[in-house]
Symmetry: C2
Subunit: 397 residues, 2 copies
């Protein structure tokens, strides 16, 4: 192993930002075009159409400059009816953030926020949600996470939407699909999701800087029902009005949007279902490899977009991830802290989203096995078992 | 003249987005690095330091994903003390936007907005501001535009700040320097500007997607005085806390920030004063050329970053700008509409900000003269007079 300290030969296997294909980087390096031109409008329209197909919706998908958080906050503040009861479900850092945002707007909009918390590493179950909504059937807006990146956990979104529809038929549902859209099955219209939010720097293979908001018919209807809340930039009414003219209300990140067109073209060329299947296969292989090392996943309901693993006794987070990066050129993520748990230093995460190949994943598993066996000589089995377990899955595919 | 319909050989002389140098485009095309790394933190810190030198401030300069409007709204909502009187000065589309944002937050924060309007094409005078503040000395927050892009007008910012300090010593001043920072003299600390906002896609030679907020000591002090307003993303307290650790609270546009480092390096290599002088010279040359054609500038107090010109009788906006673009490969901006005027179709604008050379400007003037003389045979002088007038300025330099 030679030292590969330069980023030029690193594999970025973090759950956002993720690696960006060369064709996308090249597109973003084209000379800047002005946003009030037919050329840009055509690109913008194509991005919107492709995003709608990836989200599986007939509704508009807005492109908002900023992070996934920007887009999610825009949905929350634009759809929270003043004086209403709002709810966010949390089982990790991002669900907690959506709870915080409702709390922050509560005084201005006279909101009555309620919270459903599940332990980190567990997904909200349809049963738990049903019981909670039994007490809060008057809730008007629900925010929840499909794939919680901090805990590498995914819920059964289809079943969850069914419960919402049955127990709180008047409520609108905003789904955080930031690490699920383009990585695992999501059917916005088929499942009846009112608002679906995602970001550019995850499965959509772009650098960070864009958030996307898909709007279903009930959300579009609600946007007409009352006046905007306090924010100007984050008022979806303003974005929607411009969207109908294939543009945005404020100067958009033109190079990112051009890059997004190419990335979406790549996804649709491979085929959305094939992308989901590849992501699933890489996740399955990684889980099998970790199992072969006797390690425990962070999640009882693991997401396909990212695998989180508790470190075994004897492994040191900083040393492990530094060696992975500096000796093997593989960049993994550590854990995060929140209200429900402090996983910083206790877990590592391997991403499967977006521009990740079988070879990237095998390389990460082989390197992780090597370093972990050195740090923790008591791990079960023999060197190569983790890679072999992964290979068994990958060869079947 | 051959048709140059492709953007690859167009000169983008619009006042944002502006052309991006190849070295910056190339830097942005590097493989993505993760934002929670020493490598990114070093880039981020360097961008912050260079921005502070360009703004001439010892205070922190925050980098916020989004447009210039995102950054300006963040300053407004984060610094507006609940229950206070706030004020925005408008003489164009952007000043009107800052008025709208105060209005939009007024119910949530119990703000009492007041407005000082000046006619489009005029700058607010120190005298008018002094008279207005004589009646509103209790104003707690003032937003005003240094260079109003929609009308190509700049105010005497140094004199304006003096009036604010004298007549409303308790008020904080937020300055929209979106098309002035990096284009014309601005001395944040020397003049006593509390908050200075700019954007990436103007004189800073980057694609759109980043806004920047410089914070002086009085602004930093006020951020500690009361709790945040409604917004989560736009709460500067959150950004400031992360900034101290060379990072941001939400996944940042890493490729844009890396590009910004190179663009700022280019500005500092040329020398900030030299950049200002070049911009001024291109503006002077353009103004002399338009004068030679007998045309009237939009502004009685023209900005150096962009020149706005009323069309002469007989010229058609769409036809003129389409020919400029399609035959000559020169992309100019038209006019905008607002509460104070409707200049769409009535003016055109040539930008001098950022990556614009003498040759770009001469080419634009020569092409504009050619097309306008064809459209309006009664224009004074003879073909070549406009270019000669510009050349007289450029040769002196």
């Amino acid at each position: 192993m030679t030292a590969t300290k330069t980023e030029l030969i690193q594999r970025l296997l973090t759950p956002g930002p993720t690696a960006v294909p060369a064709a996308v980087l090249r597109e973003m390096a084209l000379p800047i075009i002005h946003h009030r031109t037919k050329a840009f409008e055509a690109v913008f329209a194509e991005v919107g159409q492709r995003l709608a197909r990836v989200m599986k919706t007939a509704g508009p998908v807005l492109s908002i400059a900023g992070s996934g958080t920007t887009a999610f906050e825009a949905a929350q503040v634009s759809l929270a009816r003043p004086g209403s009861k709002v709810m966010a479900v949390a089982g990790g850092k991002f669900g907690e953030r959506w709870q915080d945002i409702f709390d922050q707007y509560a005084p201005a909009l006279n909101l009555k926020p309620v919270k459903l918390d599940v332990p980190w590493g567990e997904a909200v179950s349809p049963e738990a949600l049903e019981a909670f909504l039994g007490e809060h059937g008057d809730v008007d807006l629900i925010a929840l996470v499909h794939s919680e990146t901090s805990t590498a956990t995914a819920c059964d979104l289809k079943a969850i939407v069914e419960v919402v529809r049955r127990k709180a038929p008047e409520a609108l549902l905003i789904v955080d699909g930031i690490t699920s859209v383009g990585a695992m099955p999501v059917d916005m219209d088929g499942w009846g999701i009112d608002v679906l939010v995602t970001g550019s720097q995850k499965a959509l293979m772009l650098p960070p800087g864009l958030g996307f908001v898909g709007l279903g018919p009930r959300a579009l209807d609600r946007l007409k029902q009352f006046k905007a809340g306090p924010s100007y930039n984050l008022d979806l009414r303003r974005w929607l009005k411009s969207h109908a003219q294939n543009t945005v209300p404020f100067t958009p990140p033109v190079s990112l949007i051009r890059g997004q067109r190419v990335a979406l073209e790549m996804i649709e060329s491979e085929g959305l279902e094939q992308v989901w299947a590849r992501t699933r296969m890489l996740a399955d292989a990684s889980r099998a490899a970790m199992d072969a090392l006797g390690l425990t996943l962070c999640s009882k309901s693991p997401s396909d977009s990212v695998t989180g693993i508790f470190y075994p006794q004897g492994a040191d987070d900083k040393k492990f991830r530094n060696r992975m990066r500096d000796e093997f050129g593989i960049h993994l993520a550590g854990g995060q802290d929140g209200r429900g748990a402090s996983w910083s230093g206790k877990i590592f995460r391997i991403s499967h989203m977006g521009f990740v190949t079988i070879e990237d994943t095998v390389a990460a598993i082989e390197a992780a096995e090597t370093v972990l066996r050195e740090m923790c000589p008591d791990l079960p089995g023999k060197p190569g078992d983790a890679v072999a377990a992964a290979r068994a899955i990958l060869d079947r595919a």
